[in-house]
Amino acid sequence: MRTALPRGGGAILLWIAKGGALFSAAAFALSLVVAAIIMLLAGFDPLEGYHALLIGSFGSWDNFATALGTATPLCFAGLSVSIGKRAGFFNIGVEGQLLSGALTAAIAGAYAPGLPAILHVPLCFGAAWIVGGLIGVLSVKLKQFMKVSELIITVMLNYVVAYTVELLVAEFFLNSAYVVRTPDIAGAARLAALIPFSRLTTGVFFAIAGIALLWWIYEKTRFGYEITAIGLNRRAAETGGINVNRGVGLAMFISGGLAALGGAVETMGVHGYYVANMVNGYGYDGLTIAIMGGGNPIGCALASIIFGALRAGSSNMNRTTSIPGEFISILQALVILFVSTPLLIRYFQAKLKKRPPTTPATPATPTTPAEAV
């Protein structure tokens, strides 16, 4: 859904009232069905898979804590994509920004011993934010310079960041010969677990703060108004006297920073060090979450809980069934495709309502997909 929300306090209610939430839910349901059909064709039992997913995420308090704990970095990733999208930049670089944040927090956490927690945690967060934010700004600058779709730029940049992180860890910060990881961070930089030995840490409060921050930016600030205008119509915003380059740059600094915090929370809460593959695919989850959340912070939060649950459930599915965990990636890809193709959903709706055959099934004249929401 590419429509940005109208301003005003009731935007979230409006999103739900105008059917935005319902639309996302319908697209999600359709994805569940199509994913099940794909699994059937591949020779797996989808019901067994969905059962294992449910047990693994909501089956017990421990599992639910894992789901919420996994939702924490995903929420940051979703918020990150959301603010970029609002300013008209589709930030696929989240994956790289998460990774850079995870490593930066690990370095700041391990190599500044003796600081009290009240200073050490903000230091890690701040350092991660700056590195991630600068990568975000770099991708905007590259796009403005090359005038090429951000998809190519950010995908290439993701590879570059991933190898750079790997290189830095291997050359300078390697702690163990067996696992590619950095030294333990200081105790003062750790985020406490809310439920002992679970993934659910105080990081979840920072995610909630992130949601509040975006809500505040979107609803209460002039900057939020400006980037919304830029995202809706760049030229019109420019004519209206908005500094477009500054607006998009700042939005992407926040976007990259939020993504990096997602990585930092994972380092400081769950692992206590940076380890290879720790944010594997979180960025892509973030994209799906932002798309499903309809550019709305609360929507992002809800979607991130769904995807946290799917991830928690998928490790259970991996353990107890022969179905590979990549099943949820199929689901995720379908969610992206269905949510971002409103006309397809409308086509199905029309089919379900059994319209008279004289109505053309597909629109002959170009209509803007934005209308659908």
Binding site: A42, L142, K147, I153, M156, E326, I330, Q332, I336, S340
Partner: protein
């Protein structure tokens, strides 16, 4: 001494060809749809599907050529899906591409699990046999490059010629150009814009499949997860670099292949491995900086 240098250069050139072939297929695929005004953002995923089904077909039938046919068929289906989403249902090209790339990645892993009960690598299958030109073997340099030639390389060179003729010497090519540059004008001339775009995206799928299949059933004869690794995007960058022109694709592909092959040779002399693995992506970004700016088809209006 001289002989050693010759040998080094020979293996450098042989490496160039191996990198060049799949990238150039991807570049042709990209320029085909870009000329008709559709940015094939799903190229990476379509190549991956082609690579997988080529191996799967070869595994089922024992014939690499039938495998290639299955790979092409599967890729064209996915390309058709992309075309339907973006042309008929007006989905954003970047979002559709993202979704399909993700779908292809996950689907191929799920299918690896379903067929070979592993998430890493398929079994080794029959590959497309190299054409041996023993007469060339004793010739320096040329022998290194072409004494064992993949049939797909020959197909690539032939298709470059065909694509050139199609783009610039036929009515179809001209119509394609108009469609891409100004769909409204094309429509007013009576060109069936949507149909032309569908056709071009599907042809783009054929070339993507050839590139993917080269990686799997020509190069290593197995499918391993995520084996395309961004080559679709690199191909897009090469076609952009070459202004969507077949000769540009050829030169861009050669340049890219040569630089990357050079980097592989550097692996022995103490440069960290990660730096070398990073190079193709850095190179792509650099190539984009130097490519023609007004590539309107690949630019989005948003920024």
């Amino acid at each position: 001494m001289n002989e050693q240098i010759l040998q080094q250069v020979g293996s450098l050139l042989a490496g160039t060809i191996r990198v060049f072939t799949p990238i150039t297929f991807a570049a042709i695929a990209s320029s085909f749809s870009a000329r008709a005004g559709v940015v094939n953002m799903a190229l990476d995923g379509i190549m991956l599907i082609g690579a997988f089904f080529a191996v799967f077909g070869s595994f089922l039938t024992g014939s690499a050529w039938l495998g290639l046919a299955l790979g092409i068929f599967a890729s064209v289906l996915i390309a058709l899906f992309f075309a339907a989403l973006t042309i008929t249902f007006r989905c954003d090209q970047a979002l559709a591409g993202l979704g399909i790339n993700l779908l292809a990645k996950a689907l191929t892993i799920v299918l690896l699990q379903a067929v070979w009960n592993t998430k890493g690598k398929s079994a080794i299958v029959n590959g497309i046999e190299m054409i041996r030109l023993d007469a060339l073997k004793s010739v320096p340099l040329l022998g290194d490059m072409f004494s064992e030639t993949s049939p797909l390389l020959i197909i690539l060179l032939l298709s470059l010629i065909c694509v050139y003729i199609l783009f610039f010497k036929t009515v179809f090519g001209m119509r394609m150009q108009v469609t891409g540059e100004n769909p409204a004008a094309a429509r007013s001339l009576g060109i069936k814009v949507e149909r032309a775009q569908y056709l071009c995206v599907m042809i783009s799928g054929v070339f993507a499949a050839l590139g993917g299949a080269y990686l799997s059933i020509c190069d290593v004869n197995v499918f391993s997860r995520d084996m395309v690794a961004g080559r679709g995007f690199i191909g897009m960058a090469v076609s952009l670099f070459g202004a969507n022109h077949p000769i540009g694709c050829l030169l861009g592909g050669l340049l890219f292949g040569f630089t990357q092959s050079l980097q592989y040779r550097l692996q022995g002399i103490g440069i960290p491995n990660q730096l070398i693995q990073m190079m193709p992506y850095v190179l792509t970004l650099v190539a984009l900086v130097f490519s023609k700016r007004d590539t309107s088809a690949l630019t989005e209006n948003q920024l």
